[in-house]
Amino acid sequence: MKLRARLWRWADHRLGLGKIWRVVAKHGVPPETTSARYGWLYVLGFVTLGIFLLQILTGAALVTRYIPASESAFESIRILTGEGWSGRMIRGMHYWGASAMILFMAFHLARVFLTGSYKYPREANWITGVLLLVLVLAMGFTGQLLRWNQDGLWGVVVASQYAGRVPFIGDFLKRLILAGDVVGGATLSRFFALHVVIMPLMILALVGIHLALVQYHGISERPVPGEPVETATYRQKYDELLEREGKPYWPDAAWQEMVAISAVVLGIMVLAAFLGPRPLGQPPDPASVPSHPRPDWFLMWYYALLAVKPRGFEHATMVYLPIVTFLVLILLPLVRSTGERALSKRPIAVAAAAAVALSLGTLTVIGYRGPWVPDLDTPPFTAAELGDVPADAATGALLFHSHGCQYCHAVMGRGGQWGPELTDVTQRLAPGVITERIVKGFGEMPSFRSQLTAEELAAILAFLAAAAENGS
């Protein structure tokens, strides 16, 4: 016998490689999942898993230099990012990898929903997937906190506010998250333990179950209109399909998955190399109030939702919406476990998916614009900029800035977006009306009665008149 064959036989007898190979790699998959066009829809879960493994590697690398102490965390990231090219690269790969993982997980979820693959007998595949979704989002959130910069520090406070709203046990949960009554020395350690040990172990366990279920139930076949899933017959039909037309998973279906994950990993590396990791921002400092705290992109839609929802719906958006969304996702395969899988027969599912995609997209765009955010960095108009205007108009420009008007109102293209643009307000409203609104407040605008003298008011009006003049 040749040496190679003898070696293989030795290993096979001891490790059971042949049997494992036949079960894991040579099992049958439906023919469409191997087609050069349609098959790409079936690589998304594999890609998510591949990125997760990359995250474990880059994460383990980061942990070797990150210091999870409140005093040193920010500085340790600054140093590890700056040391040689590899620090920036590894942190960049971890950052872009996290984004890619969330993105591909979302695509995977959308694909499974749209092909109706969550139906019988794959309900538990879906439910473990939803639990993974929650954990991965939580990983994203805790990960951005570990930067322990201004956004991270205040992100912890915001997280505690959410926990505090949970009925009955809110106060306890809040202290559990903060490890005390306020953000303290133990807080960061808590998030570090969650992000680096506790949640990754939970994800690994769930991924194991998820994959075992995928293996056990097989990849769902392409939905056919008019052929609904029925509990009594599905299994037999599926087995017959594989018997008749099934293709071996390796390499017929797997090659696309390997190509896809390779492209994604290289894409992550290109992004890390050219764009680098997310800028570290300002060190955590409660003595300096940040001017633009923002979550990472995958939570931007939610950040926007919190701003645009009507007042009084805090509990609804911050407690019940997440709980209800979670329950709907968990219950979906249980209440819709049979029936049509094809899109043409599921108009409500199509409408729901479109509505969710449109809402998330719109809210994300709004979140990045953030028109409600006061423009705290806007500089005042100087006399030189205003040109040939009366002296009190120049004074008014300074007052317009110092009293906070300009944080919310733009004039001649400069200032906040929260209130109306005021360049030509003196042409739209009589001076008396403007004065009244400033003094008494108007709608969302606060009253400035106790903050402005009559002369100052007149100066601001003079400035607005000059702006109208300038703007026209």
């Binding site: 409140s70 965390a73 322990w148 020395g185 409660p286 940040p290 950040y303 955010v373 009253s447 903050q451």
Partner: protein
């Protein structure tokens, strides 16, 4: 034969239950210190007062930010996790403090002295000089930590991150 099989089956059932009961008890026993350890930091700390400086450090009518250590500081926390609040010396000599946490989602509010406003940078919440909501999403006025004057020193009671709602 049948009776011997029954006996073996009975023994098997007993051993299965024994195994589950014993390991269940051991798991429960191990869980007690684990849960206790994890939950322990969640205990509420005793109230504490922090010195903010002499009365004379606060100009009458002005509102300024004060920064003070956490109730029971750990040696490794550095300056990153100090507490902060806005404190105003009123014209009548009394002191008022406003929590730095917006009542919407807990972002830090910024005081604009000349405008007489607290502005929140997250979702555009605006509070007037008394901490009442005047615009944006916050559901209730800013919290007011307790301040007092003792022997000519201004002191603040270290307060929790407020629970919303």
């Amino acid at each position: 034969m049948a009776s011997m099989d029954d006996a073996a089956e009975g023994r098997r059932r007993f051993l299965a239950r024994l195994a589950l009961a014993v390991s269940g008890l051991a798991a429960l026993a191990a869980a007690v210190p684990l849960v206790a350890y994890f939950v322990r930091p969640a205990r509420s700390a005793a109230a504490a007062w922090r010195d903010l400086g002499a009365v004379g450090d606060f100009a009458p009518g002005l509102t300024r930010k004060v920064v003070y250590p956490t109730p029971d500081p750990d040696p490794w926390e550095g300056t990153a996790v100090r507490n902060a609040a806005w404190v105003r010396r009123e014209l009548d000599g009394s002191f008022t403090a406003f929590s730095i946490y917006c009542t919407h989602t807990g972002c830090p509010v910024r005081w604009v002295e000349e405008g007489g406003l607290f502005l929140c940078p997250c979702h555009g919440g605006v509070f007037d000089r008394d901490g009442d909501v005047s615009a944006g999403p916050p559901p209730r006025p800013l919290d007011r930590p307790v301040v007092r004057v003792r022997n000519g020193r201004v002191e603040i009671e270290v307060a929790d991150v407020p629970t919303p709602g």
